[in-house]
């Protein structure tokens, strides 16, 4: 159970230090998910995201030295019965497209078949995440099949079969950081107030 800055966040922070420019919008949207997995810096989305991201309140705090801490606070309310296992901090409040594999994907395969085709962009390329592997969709047949480049964004290509019915998640905005934790059981109407802080030391 860990919290990681994503790889693009890391390089953008280095760019800020080197004077190459910080290109990211302010991270202020918190979204949650119910899937399982090991958080990777190469992730572009949550494990099985649910509901719409919530715009949080961003502030600058002093923890040890003046203005050394970023804080984003948001309260998310469950619209159903969920076991929340991960959250992400995003630069936009967009909801990611989601679908499922309708057939297994073999190691090295560059064609995938999915349900929910129309939920994804109709222009190419765009990225999707399946388990911990990020793929770039480079073309599609208009109904249920994508041609993909496997293992992009620094992620590792799965060396085992990805089973049918595995969730496919699109990229919605940019995920600044991702955090996993033991599942938190919620009923309809329950809320969680999250405070995500980053203190530079």
């Amino acid at each position: 159970m860990i919290t990681l800055l994503t790889n693009k966040t890391r390089s953008s922070l280095v760019n800020a230090i080197t004077g190459s420019g910080y290109a990211l919008d302010k991270p202020q949207y918190i979204a949650w998910g119910t899937g399982s997995g090991t958080v990777q810096a190469t992730d572009i989305t949550l494990f099985n995201p649910v509901q719409v991201p919530v715009s949080g309140t961003v502030s600058t705090l002093t923890t040890s030295t003046s203005g050394d801490t970023y804080l984003c606070s948001a309260t998310l309310t469950a619209s159903g019965h969920y076991n929340i296992t991960n959250i992400g901090l995003f630069t936009t409040g967009a909801t990611p497209a989601m679908g499922t594999l309708t057939s297994q994907v073999n190691p090295g395969a560059t064609t995938i078949q999915i349900s929910g085709y129309n939920a994804f962009p109709n222009t190419f390329p765009f990225n999707i995440q399946v388990l911990s592997e990020v793929m770039t969709v480079i073309s599609g047949n208009g109904t249920n099949t994508y041609n993909v480049i496997r293992g992009v964004n620094g992620s590792s290509m799965m060396t085992t079969i990805i089973p049918s019915l595995t969730t496919v998640v699109g990229q919605a905005g940019f995920m600044f950081l991702k955090s996993s934790f033991p599942g938190i059981g919620l009923q309809y109407g329950d809320s969680i107030q999250f405070n995500i802080s980053i203190q530079f030391i």
Binding site: M1, T3, S191, S197
Partner: protein, 46 residues
Amino acid sequence: MEHLPFRIKVDATIIRADGVQEILGTISSNTIENDNDYSTDEQDQK
């Protein structure tokens, strides 16, 4: 010992639909690997 340049913490409080609050404290960070239970701020300082 490696000195991390920043600390990330995710603190959480559950607010049940009936208004009851459950303070979970820090549920994840970049410096600790939580086990199967939630840690408190005090435990995080170990």
